[in-house]
Symmetry: C2
Subunit: 331 residues, 2 copies
């Protein structure tokens, strides 16, 4: 993690130094390297993120559905949970998720720490319980020692677990996208088509919701603003959290950072390609039918939002002890 953070800091510094005159008036801002990371906590969180023993089956880890080899998502329409249950919603990317105003599509978790506890105990996802997860972790001497070292407490609790996972997730930002290089002043970072795509993205109104550092993630919006969205609605959206009928089919606007990697698109994963996603968004959110050429240019712009992917050593997990409760995948 030291190496990762250093690399990011260096990348940020280099970028700032090279492109002295940046685009400061743009509605999108460059991704910043993570700040004030507790490295010990983040290293522990990385292990937990990759540990399938946090699931009942011993088979599903955070990384199963937020796969850091694949843009922090699972690239499935909806996720696979315990006993191969079909999830109700598309797995959002964990990349840059620290920049979201809230977590989950409906924003039901205020922050990453609150989010991290959800899937572990969700019967349709990891199907475990916080108590069982703690029993498992506490039985493993190397985890015991590492928790004690990081948190300075004798007793493990779920707050420590979710804090550590959240701390690791804060490191999962993706700076240095070509678009950010352009924002920072590197004029030739984008092609003419990509720049035209960005212009269309701004002028058509996409940027109204997809703006800021994460190019989204900072508001809830109705899916189907101009025209109703014809999806197979299993989720009701933000109204499930607020209880307000007006919030029905409202979802957190997803980040467009690394959107090239996070297919399929929308809360229901119904759009397989960026071309399809741009077409549907144009029609139902903006009342605009993009021509094929316009669509292609917007897609070209979107692909410039792919940043440096998190780079770290695959974590090695401490082995279970003789008294560690064993997973029960088939019970």
């Amino acid at each position: 993690m030291k190496a990762l953070v250093s690399a990011m800091v260096v990348a940020g510094a280099t970028a700032a130094a090279s492109y002295a005159v940046g685009q400061t008036q743009e509605p999108i801002s460059p991704i910043q390297p993570p700040k004030q990371i507790n490295l010990g906590m983040s290293e522990l969180g990385k292990k937990l993120f990759f540990d399938p023993r946090l699931s009942k089956s011993g088979f599903i880890s955070c990384n199963s559905c937020h796969n850091l080899s694949m843009g922090g998502s699972d690239n499935l329409q909806t996720s696979i949970g315990d006993k191969w249950q079909q999830g109700p919603i598309n797995s959002p990317t964990v990349l840059n998720s620290s920049l979201n105003l809230a977590q989950f599509w409906d924003g039901r978790a205020a922050d990453l720490k609150e989010q991290a506890g959800g899937p572990i105990a969700n019967p349709g996802e990891m199907a475990f319980s916080h108590t069982l997860a703690l029993d498992m972790l506490a039985s493993i001497p190397a985890y015991q020692r590492e928790f004690k070292q990081v948190f300075g407490k004798d007793k493990l609790d779920i707050d420590q677990v979710t804090l550590a996972i959240a701390e690791f997730e804060k490191t999962l930002v993706t700076p240095n996208a070509r678009f950010d290089q352009w924002l920072l002043g590197k004029q030739d970072a984008l092609t003419q088509d990509e720049l035209t795509g960005y212009k269309l993205f701004k002028e058509s109104g996409c940027v109204g919701c997809h703006n800021g550092e994460a190019v989204g993630g900072n508001s809830f919006q109705k899916m189907g603003l101009v025209e109703p969205y014809k999806g197979n609605e299993k989720a009701e959206g933000r109204s499930a959290v607020t209880g307000k009928d007006a919030d029905r089919f409202n979802y957190k606007v997803p980040t467009l950072r690394n959107v090239e990697l996070t297919y399929p698109y929308f809360h229901d994963g119904a759009a397989n390609t960026l071309t399809e996603a741009v077409d549907v968004m144009g029609r139902i959110q903006l009342g605009k039918k993009f021509t094929q050429a316009e669509n292609a240019k917007i897609v070209a712009f979107l692909k410039t939002l792919t940043g440096d992917q998190p780079s770290f050593q695959l974590p090695i997990l401490p082995p279970s002890a003789d008294n560690t409760p064993r997973p029960t995948p088939f019970k």
Copy 2:
């Protein structure tokens, strides 16, 4: 990969230099660093090893059941396959598997290359087909380029896929175990109990099958030599390959390298702990009932066989293209 191989070479060299007078008469020999690795091929193989798109569901990769965070196994009694099917047998570790005389518990694959094609097309495991896997890979420009660079051919075929995976797997050796340090002459690498355990391991006959560089992996033996093994036999063993009734319940002797990490034990994963495994093996293979103290010392010795785990950056996979066939987990 360069870093990995260099690190291993350095580790090997250091060890050889420091401990000039080694134990050359022992029936177990130190793990050697991997030799003559084609780095380009191995890097490609690493991506394939981690790519769940080689399965029908898009959810199961080689690493799902041979998890390199967990000793190259899944630590489950039997593995979970497509649609949560329960596998018939315990997932053997991929660590040091290049040292096995043949692959799979029944040795039905001659080498790693032949093995690698099996799970992809097994309806109970990744449930894909070689044709579909190739269609998927060929549709992804970055994979196309990398295959062409490594193999110099215009057309992708399954031999290239399995060769690349096998090349990566050849790097997955675990040198520098404390026991190897002792073998190489570092007298204080083992405690007295561990040395006594090793002496018991040799004198009781365990070493008759568990010997050589991998401490096993180099012969087929009957499970239940002295006393019948009382397992829930779903697999018939080596006879499924040879057709000979004499080979019934014969299995490849598993490597004991990293055995601390590869629980549960036996082809059916029925033994949860090393204590249990040592007890059962003593009784049914050697006709010997180890005392609790003897058992504990043998277990202490076995834990000295944990070597340096493979250390590499989590691979980043190239994204699917618009025309890449999408996984079908729920069909």
